[in-house]
């Protein structure tokens, strides 16, 4: 492994944990001109809960009024369209329906939404509901429609925020598995046993790993509860199944199993909600729960079109987010229990943290990242122009998603180094389609190795130890 840091690496702020929350704070601090570094033990940003969730920006009617969840969700929701524009990412205002037969409960949600400051909520029933959601189980009579709900790619936001932080002077150190954190005077020294990083402030946004880091720092420990959510991803052939996100009425375990279009044109169904350890496995029980719940709402759903199953872990601490200055250890910010609506709240969490740090929450205009461009989204003339300039754009590697070699090389040439097949998958959608990399895996591995100047054996699927090729064949 290459050396990640220099002994003199000294920052004002170090963020531990490069999820959507960490990356949002990282970008905000870097754009504010602060000296900031974000570290993560993984080899890419956004490999935890940030990559395995519903990809929704909730309107904000669900959270209990007065909580951080309510406040930051509603603010985050208002911020997302501008975030997307700044980062050059797609965001689709699909709206969301909560459906059910308990009209009183839906009215309660509506009232709660109004208290939280959510606009564009409507109670629907009868022919109006049928016209909007003809695929809904006809036994379901009512729906609360929230206009201002969006679908986004949670990992692309994480990646682009991290890149944005880098182009604005921040540093990202990946594969840095913190083992020890010591404080001398005002300076923390974080070590992974090989390298050290020094900082004045630590922001602990390490998600499921919060307590391990807090232990090293000597800051507050929380009772973390892990809830595993299992999902189905359906083929893009099913993209017209539902026009908007459809939820059942929420329960104590969460917002329930939803059916939603994704920003990339698939259908996502899930999550289950099982108390578990933090292993992201799928189970027969979890999936069959998801399947029956979803089929109850949308009977026409075709699970034969499943192209991927996955599970993610959400970390829960009591009823609300924990975002606070540590009382035990000065100059530490504790961020824990960022379960749903964590993605929706992320940009607002960043501002909240700036405020906790005594910084100006008005972030000045900063350098922009070069937007990711999917060739398939361009008009023919523009595609031809690109291919004429670089013929690799005409060489299709991933046939299911129609991704060219040029796009993969571009993803490998950005501010953040990519060493994993899943990293390329998230950035370009290579291997994200129905054959799941059946035809393009070899080529992807080859391109990653070439660009990083490593051997094919060093290319990983995701984390350290997830190498794909174990050896060569026998020599003749």
């Amino acid at each position: 492994m290459m050396k990640n840091t220099n002994n003199n690496d000294m920052f004002d702020y170090v963020i531990v944990g490069a999820g959507i929350v960490g990356s949002s704070i990282f970008s905000a601090l870097a754009r504010s001109g602060k000296s900031v570094c974000m570290i993560d033990k993984a080899l890419d940003v956004g490999t935890g809960a940030a990559k395995a969730n519903s990809g929704l920006v909730h309107a904000g009617f669900d959270a209990k009024p007065g909580t951080l969840k309510a406040k930051l969700n509603v603010l985050g929701n208002k911020m997302y369209p501008l975030e997307a524009k700044r980062l050059g990412l797609s965001i689709k205002k699909t709206g969301a329906y909560v459906v059910g037969n308990d009209k009183e409960k839906l009215e309660e949600l509506l009232a709660r939404g109004k208290t939280n400051g959510v606009d564009g909520l409507h109670l629907l029933s009868g022919s109006e509901l049928k016209a909007k959601l003809p695929m809904l189980n006809p036994e379901i009579k009512y729906a609360l429609f929230a206009e201002n709900a969006y679908v986004i790619s949670p990992y692309m936001f994480t990646i682009c925020l991290a890149e944005e932080g880098i182009v604005n002077g921040g540093r990202v150190v990946l594969g840095f598995d913190a083992k020890r954190i010591k404080k001398h005077g005002d300076i923390f020294t974080i070590s992974d046993g090989f390298d050290e990083i020094k900082t004045k402030y630590i922001i602990n946004s390490s998600g499921a790993g919060y307590n391990e880091i807090a232990n090293m720092i000597g800051s507050e420990i929380y009772e973390l509860e892990f809830r595993r959510g299992e999902y189905f991803v359906l083929d893009s052939t099913e993209k017209n199944l539902v026009p908007s996100t459809v939820f059942p009425l929420p329960s104590k375990a969460g917002k329930g199993v939803l059916v939603t279009p994704t920003v990339d044109g698939n259908i996502l169904v899930g999550p289950s909600s099982q108390l578990s350890d933090d292993i992201t496995k799928t189970t027969a029980e979890g999936l069959s729960f998801v399947r029956s719940q979803a089929s109850n709402m949308i009977p026409s759903i075709n699970f034969k079109k499943t192209i991927r199953i996955f599970s993610g872990i959400r970390t829960v601490v009591g009823d609300d987010f924990v975002i606070e200055k540590s009382r035990e250890m000065p100059n530490v910010i504790n961020i824990a229990g960022i379960c749903s609506p964590g993605l929706s709240a992320a940009p607002a969490i960043a501002l909240y943290v700036l405020n906790l740090l005594g910084l100006d929450t008005k972030i000045p205009a900063a350098k922009k990242i070069k937007p990711y461009v999917a060739l398939s989204s361009l008009p023919v003339s523009k595609k031809n122009e690109l291919i004429a300039r670089n013929p690799l754009y005409g060489k299709i590697v991933c046939k299911c998603e129609g991704i060219s070699e040029g796009e993969i090389v571009d993803a490998l040439s950005r501010p953040l180094r990519v060493v994993s097949v899943d990293g390329i998958k998230r950035r370009t959608r290579t291997g994200m389609g129905r054959c799941q990399g059946g035809f393009c895996l070899s080529k992807t591995i080859e391109l990653i190795a070439k660009k990083n100047n490593i051997t094919l054996f060093d290319v990983v699927k995701e984390n350290k130890g997830s190498n794909i090729i174990v050896s060569g064949v026998k020599k003749s």
Binding site: I396, Q436, G438, E462, I468, I469, S471, K474
Partner: protein, 406 residues
């Protein structure tokens, strides 16, 4: 914009055979292939056993492909476009992209020969974690035979499909240890000769009615829990842990028809619905090879695809002359039959079909209005093998039923 009589999409064995026969029938023909060379999946099938039926000699996959590439070269009417990808088919206009840019080809007829893809871990809802080391047999085959790299050292293979069996032997020869091949069904899906030559000869255990309960391992596969299943696929008995670093899936192929929204799809085969001219429900669009239904032998792909190519050429140059249209019904112990429709008229209609279960010493026949139109005697027939029966079109006067006697 280019123009041609016939466009063949896919340059594997099906596409090459279709193009050759199309060209021989006088049609200007373009083959579009996304890889750099013609040959398709044959190029990674370096084992032998190809060509016994068609060339009467035993060839490897690349040799079989080479012979057809040479035949393609001889046809002046064929233009080959490699490293070219089809992005859209609309009517009989095909949009392509390659390193020269985006272009359109307007054709008189289209032959779809895009083959099949492998079923994935998600398709069979494989439970557990999703570490490195879970791959399909075809992926493993490409890695080993084309890239010269091994996907693992201690391997469990799920499914007894032919590619899985071939890879069990291939990886054993490369020094890997194949701990077991698991088959959830009571019968294997691969050819008998592969069970013998790839597993039995190498003492690789084949565990019938057994499957993977759960994959274990966070970064790389560390093992699998396996269990026996009953006839309804419920787990029975205790699950057992098998240590391994790789899980290879050989659990079937699916014709790549996902984006075909212009023609009817046969829900049994996942391929398009075709008639006895191999024409889909979209006029002038023909289909063959694994794109139409998954074959057992490449030789059968070749023969079938030649018919498709000849018919496409006829359509483009003169228009197919068809008689009255009738249904083909799969009867007793027939899993499915292709085509779905036949016509009265001249020539011969070939019915290709698979059995539902093993058959020994039985007649298989085609019946219409109590009259037997064709029949054949089968000594020993397996569900994995493709069967053919030929029916003279002049005898066809109504819907036809295909069935195993008694």
């Amino acid at each position: 914009m280019r123009q041609t009589d016939v466009v063949v999409i896919g340059g594997g064995p099906a596409g090459m055979a279709a193009a050759i026969e199309s060209a021989r029938n006088g049609a200007k023909t373009i083959i579009i292939e996304r890889n750099e060379v013609l040959g398709g999946i044959l190029m990674q099938c370096i084992h032998n056993g190809f060509g016994l039926a068609y060339f009467k000699e035993e060839l490897t996959g690349p040799e079989y492909a080479y012979k057809f590439r040479e035949l393609v070269k001889k046809e002046k009417n064929i233009t080959v476009m490699t490293s070219t990808f089809v992005t859209k088919i609309k009517g009989k206009t095909v949009t392509i992209v390659n390193s020269s840019g985006i272009d359109e080809i307007e054709a008189g007829a289209i032959v779809l020969a895009m083959g099949a893809r492998e079923r994935t871990a998600a398709n069979i809802l494989l439970q557990g974690t999703r570490p490195a080391g879970v791959l399909t047999a075809g992926q493993a085959q490409k890695m080993t035979n084309i890239d010269g790299k091994l996907p693992g050292k201690n391997i469990v293979i799920l499914g007894s499909g032919d590619i899985g069996l071939i890879m069990a032997r291939r990886l054993t020869l490369e020094g890997a240890r194949v701990k077991a091949v698991l088959e959830i069904n009571k019968t294997t899906s691969g050819l008998k000769r592969n069970i013998v030559q790839c597993l039995e000869d190498f003492k690789i255990p084949l565990l019938m009615q057994t499957t993977i309960v759960e994959v274990v391992g966070e970064n790389r596969v560390e093992g699998v829990y396996i269990s026996a299943v009953d006839d309804n696929y419920n787990f029975v008995g205790e699950k057992k842990f098998v240590k391994c670093d790789t899980v290879i899936l050989s659990v079937g192929l699916i014709p790549e028809t996902d984006l075909v929204d212009f023609a009817d799809i046969n829900t049994r085969t996942n391929g398009p619905v075709v008639d006895d001219f191999m024409e889909t429900s979209a006029k002038g669009v023909f289909a063959c090879g694994n794109f139409l239904h998954v074959h057992d032998l490449v030789d059968n792909v070749t023969l079938e695809s030649m018919d498709a190519g000849a018919n496409a050429a006829d359509f483009a140059l003169a228009g197919c002359k068809k008689g009255k249209k009738f249904c083909v019904i799969a009867g007793n112990n027939i899993s499915y039959a292709n085509p779905s429709f036949v016509h009265s008229g001249d020539g011969i209609a070939k019915i290709r079909f698979r059995l539902k279960s093993n058959v020994s010493k039985k007649w298989i026949r085609v019946v219409s209005k109590d009259e037997v139109l064709a029949k054949k005697f089968v000594m020993a027939g397996l569900p994995g093998e493709m069967q053919t029966l030929e029916v003279s079109r002049e005898k066809i006067k109504g819907d036809i039923l295909l069935e195993v006697e008694g």
